[in-house]
Subunit: 379 residues, 2 copies
């Protein structure tokens, strides 16, 4: 937790649950990524956290933005970002969304199948398109399913088809999986993209860029490679596969940019062994759970770090099951991977959950069990 957030919590004592984001961390992350890959163009993945304060901060730094819906277009335009700096990176869009984006002035769109390409040709005629490849996500803690991306052969065919449909085929994209901790994952995907790039070039189509998506990890509680290590792996692979002129690198970081900047401040509602013996784990119920924003604990895949008021002076810790505040029995955060917490933990204690700046505020339900969405502070 940054000193700024610690001071804010100590002085303001905000009601729980809430999310507090330190904007200076976002700046630091942007500069670090830009430093690691200086020639790349960064499109912040708005879905990770669409708070206007974050959008304005990144816009001031020169960032581009990747959006997923008309709602995200509006929020970016309202933050003063010009439409030319927005890419529509979602491969699945209804025709009204495409027409809306086209009308607002967006020029760059993703696709991964013929049907989507035809929709783009009709509702955003003449636009720039890039094709998403499906790549293996080994090493990612939040791996992506087969929901998006196509085969190299199909990408090769579709990008030529785009040209025939009057669209501008400008790039290829892939996503190595969110919270990717294996730097080599990018190399394999770049090799695949390069193969298509060179084949298309022979057909007279020269792509402008390779969009490497997001995936750069946030530190939760186990070591991750530095952003420079990712930069080196990507640069090395690009030099290998593009010995002469290389296409530009586009990046779509979301979690990397804002994850470490945020802290969820929560209160213990109940701590009890609930009829179990001394050897049984305690149940610790927080006032935020899977339906209040911590959706990424599904399957216990993302494991957060917890700070309690008793960490410095405790008679000992014991493993706890962590659960959310709702009546829903699926609203359990960690039951297989028990969390060691001080024995002193009791109802009313405030706990900080670190590195929760990304994919929390927007996952929050509208009011499950009558609980309002969590408050947010951007400082």
């Amino acid at each position: 937790m940054t000193p700024k957030i610690a001071q804010f919590l100590a002085e303001q004592k905000p009601a729980t649950p809430c999310l507090v984001v330190d904007l200076s961390c976002v700046r630091t992350q942007y500069h670090a990524l830009h430093g690691a890959l200086p020639s790349s163009r960064i499109h912040y993945a708005v879905k990770a956290n669409p708070a206007p304060a974050i959008l304005r901060e990144l816009h001031a730094l020169g960032s581009f933005f990747d959006i997923a819906s008309p709602g995200e277009i509006d929020i970016c335009l309202e933050a003063g970002i010009p439409a030319q700096k927005l890419s529509f990176g979602h491969t699945v869009k209804n025709v009204r969304s495409i027409a809306y984006a086209h009308q607002k002035g967006l020029t760059l769109y993703a696709f991964d199948c013929l049907e989507e390409l035809e929709k783009l040709a009709e509702h955003a005629p003449g636009c720039e398109v890039f094709c998403r490849l499906g790549v293996v996500n080994t090493g990612a803690q939040w791996p992506l399913s087969r929901k998006f991306g196509t085969t190299p052969e199909s990408a090769f065919t579709l990008l030529q088809k785009a040209h025939e449909l009057g669209l501008k085929p400008v790039g290829l994209s892939f996503h190595v999986g969110s919270q990717q901790t294996n730097t080599e994952a990018y190399g394999d995907a770049i090799a695949q993209a390069a193969g298509i790039y060179h084949r298309l070039k022979k057909q007279g189509i020269t792509l402008d860029f390779i969009n490497m998506g997001g995936g750069f990890p946030t530190y939760y509680n186990s070591p991750i490679p530095s952003i420079d290590q990712f930069g080196q792996a990507i640069t090395k692979a690009m030099n290998t596969h593009f010995p002469d002129t290389a296409p530009r690198i586009l990046l779509e970081p979301g979690r990397y940019m804002v994850g470490s900047a945020g802290v969820v401040h929560t209160e213990v509602v109940l701590a009890s062994r609930r009829g179990g013996g001394d050897g049984d784990p305690r149940w610790v119920y927080l006032d935020i759970g899977r339906f209040g924003g911590l959706a990424e604990t599904e399957g216990e895949s993302i494991r957060y770090t917890f700070q309690t008021p008793h960490d410095e002076e405790t008679s000992g810790t014991s493993p706890c099951i962590l659960a959310g505040p709702s009546c829903d029995s699926m609203d359990v955060l960690y039951e297989k991977n028990l969390i060691p917490l001080p024995d002193e933990i009791k109802a009313g204690d405030r706990i900080n959950i670190l590195a929760t700046g990304a994919y929390v505020s927007t996952y929050c339900s509208t009011g499950f069990n009558g609980f309002p969405p969590l408050d947010e502070y951007y400082i």
Copy 2:
């Protein structure tokens, strides 16, 4: 789908995604349950769908209500329901919520551990309490975890302790699991509760009721027992275990009361084999998914029925993977249990998802990927 909903959709052509609920179905369900267990008292589980129209409808029929938070207290009071008809059936409550409920006039509270009992004694002095037992959920399609409920031995001790703390021990509760299709599940739980009831009676404590929670199923796409069959199984078990005077039965139906009353109306955003061969399943992307309200498709546990405009006249059906509209790769509804849909399905088609009146509107995220919450119509 009821004729009333069909007419509404045909005439109004509402924007998608939306939920349409036929209130006459809610009435039918209430009367059927009341008929199956005439001496029971029904506390509608507000969390299943807290729409004011539903609350007013059930209030007019004489229903009581079970709430989970101050937010749900407010929505009930605003609907004209007196505080005396509300039970606070959530076993995990922060002290502010308890004090708020007490101040508003709620008299009946659940608990399942000593720590919660102590909170109640301090913040709702003199209130009526019931203890939740943990019971096995075999046969439930949405089984509850170990998150709630205690052992029979602990319940016996805690209800006596309640008396010592100046509280009124009035009941025992259990929950056999949501979408429970095994009528015998209630018998086993009633036997357990009866054992504690009789032991407490010998100690001079006579409980008023046994609260059997919810769990009664909604028809999705496989046969379920009728509500009369559940009524008979419960009556038989009560007669067996309470040969003389029996405590009252309380019920907390949620899904049963509103599930079958609702239809989600959604649009196909994209339908494509996405580079796969003819033998590969098609991907059909809808404009509602796991983060837009269909959270109960997690693990593909609740399997809905889909109606398409091509059902009557189709050249054939083929198995489809169904996915939601967001960029999130976890936003897939059915990938293991493929859904057979007509080959004619294409972007722009409208699909109805049946029996979606419960646990949809409130699970909806505030705006994941920039998509607004779904519209709701109560007719």
